[in-house]
Subunit: 359 residues, 2 copies
Amino acid sequence: MSISINSPADFHVHLRQGSISELITPHVRKGGFDVAYVMPNLKPPVTTTEQALQYKADLERIDPNVKYLMTLYLSPELTPDEIRKAKQAGIAGVKSYPRGVTTNSDGGIESYETYYPIFEAMQQVDMVLNLHGEVPSDAEAATLMSFPQNIHVLNAEPSFLPHLFKIHNAFPKLRIVLEHATTRAAVEAVKKCGPTVACSITAHHLALIVDDWAGQSWNFCKPVAKFPDDRQALRDVVKEGHPRFFLGSDSAPHPPAAKSTSTPTHACAAGVYTSPILLPLVAHLLESFGALDKLQNFVSGFGRAFYQEPIDQSKGARVIKLRRPSSKKIVDDKYVLGNESLIPFWAGKEIGWEIEEDD
Amino acid sequence: MSISINSPADFHVHLRQGSISELITPHVRKGGFDVAYVMPNLKPPVTTTEQALQYKADLERIDPNVKYLMTLYLSPELTPDEIRKAKQAGIAGVKSYPRGVTTNSDGGIESYETYYPIFEAMQQVDMVLNLHGEVPSDAEAATLMSFPQNIHVLNAEPSFLPHLFKIHNAFPKLRIVLEHATTRAAVEAVKKCGPTVACSITAHHLALIVDDWAGQSWNFCKPVAKFPDDRQALRDVVKEGHPRFFLGSDSAPHPPAAKSTSTPTHACAAGVYTSPILLPLVAHLLESFGALDKLQNFVSGFGRAFYQEPIDQSKGARVIKLRRPSSKKIVDDKYVLGNESLIPFWAGKEIGWEIEEDD
């Protein structure tokens, strides 16, 4: 048995910079993907068109065969003029991080109203707004929704959803992606919105629940994986084939030492690395809940339609063939380049699909 | 400023066996405590009076100055006759673990009805039943309560509470302690029960919430720390001075390597080690939420009353003096004996109280 998938596109990936970028950027294609929608949370963050184009050139030097869709980091430095300039230069979107919630997000936003002139310009030129949909934890704060608890890692996403509705209502033509949804509440919220609002879902959130990251830092990421009922909602919306829900891997590498070891005063890094096995992993997971027939649309069709990035055969788009491994296949436990090494999600576990290496 | 506390008693502690026991058993007194209510989850578990008395002798050899209250592990091997024998021998209680929920609990219980003859005998002879109040995680199972989600580490305790009510209703005179409560639901459930049902609270659950163990295995224990609102309920019931809520540290040492490092296929050990700093830590925490005036009853009076273990001045009961450190005091980051070493909770952090060493 084999499956052919037409030119997969990962609509949320971290490709970092420097030597780690040399290791991971080729993993986009290794994992079966032709398009990478690249996150801007570098040090310093990518806040100008110039930086984004330089970053794109860096990535193209490493692997010229991927189409990189670049983003800017929403911050006070951004202006409507810069948005228009970015659009002209082919920048695809602007990413918003809540302050301090995830890796390199210290410059993130605290409230959205101040960015309305930016959103207005983005709506005019048709750039996409990518939302990291969490509010920062605050044990003392009242939430925006009717939760009985204050704000913590498990209600940080539902507590964000009023922001999504508010921005969508204020800018109904602005294309918005709620990134890496993890809750039933988020799935329902996106469904309620109009056709300009979509939602990315990672591979690992289709696999994990809160129990999986309790004491297990390799499964720890932001947003954290939630409850079984939430995972079910993610699986259901994929199985339903809802066209506004598509893959964004949020593949986010960290050095093994930063992932594996916490000290009493230092926690492990948040992030799960899926790039090098992404398409086989997504196939494996979708098959586990009976949604393998939705693979083409989930990893390519729906995201491409929302982002207006049709498959361009003239630019080397691939048809990826997935096949059953001829013998039990275990995911590699390490990828190495020079002094850098990375351990992927699903390392040491069996996987039910592999890419036929004939391209 | 100083505080004198009359003979503190820790009504839930793990003293292990072998070389690690040599290191930690003296920490009971070092932490300011005269009484240790000792958990039976050894390898193999303590299931007979003979084993419990042997274990007690081992502990007394290490430190004869602590009063050890011994427990048996609830398992199919236990008989009503053994209960009567245990009572005669001074065994204080029987501990119930749900199967597979925490350290060395593979022999734990799956349903309680089969133990009703044991509970009947315990009620007759007035032995205490100690409940680890969690049901095992099960992403597919319906819960016993009205939770919208299935069973996971965050609703495992509320989902257990129907068992508590059921056992209490069937055996209203049986003294029961719901151990290491972590949720508002548990606090409210114990309050609703009659005077034979009490509740132990750990030091670390007065400090931690879910965010604190996300990616931080040193704060990972079972039951996991819950939401800010749950922590508030624990703090409130201590501050209220409710006589059926008292300290049981659940101090549970694990080798630093087992606490600090996870691999993709192996999670970190669950457990927080507080013994050597217990009384100063509890004072520090109670002071942080304005309950320092409840310290005596929380660490000694209430637990002793429920367990019928009054202070026995003839047996070397101490008055522990806590004082303000003369300079900034940081909790030691390591305790070593031979090849064994342990890193305590609160390591490297400032603590506002210390024991005056004059006993």
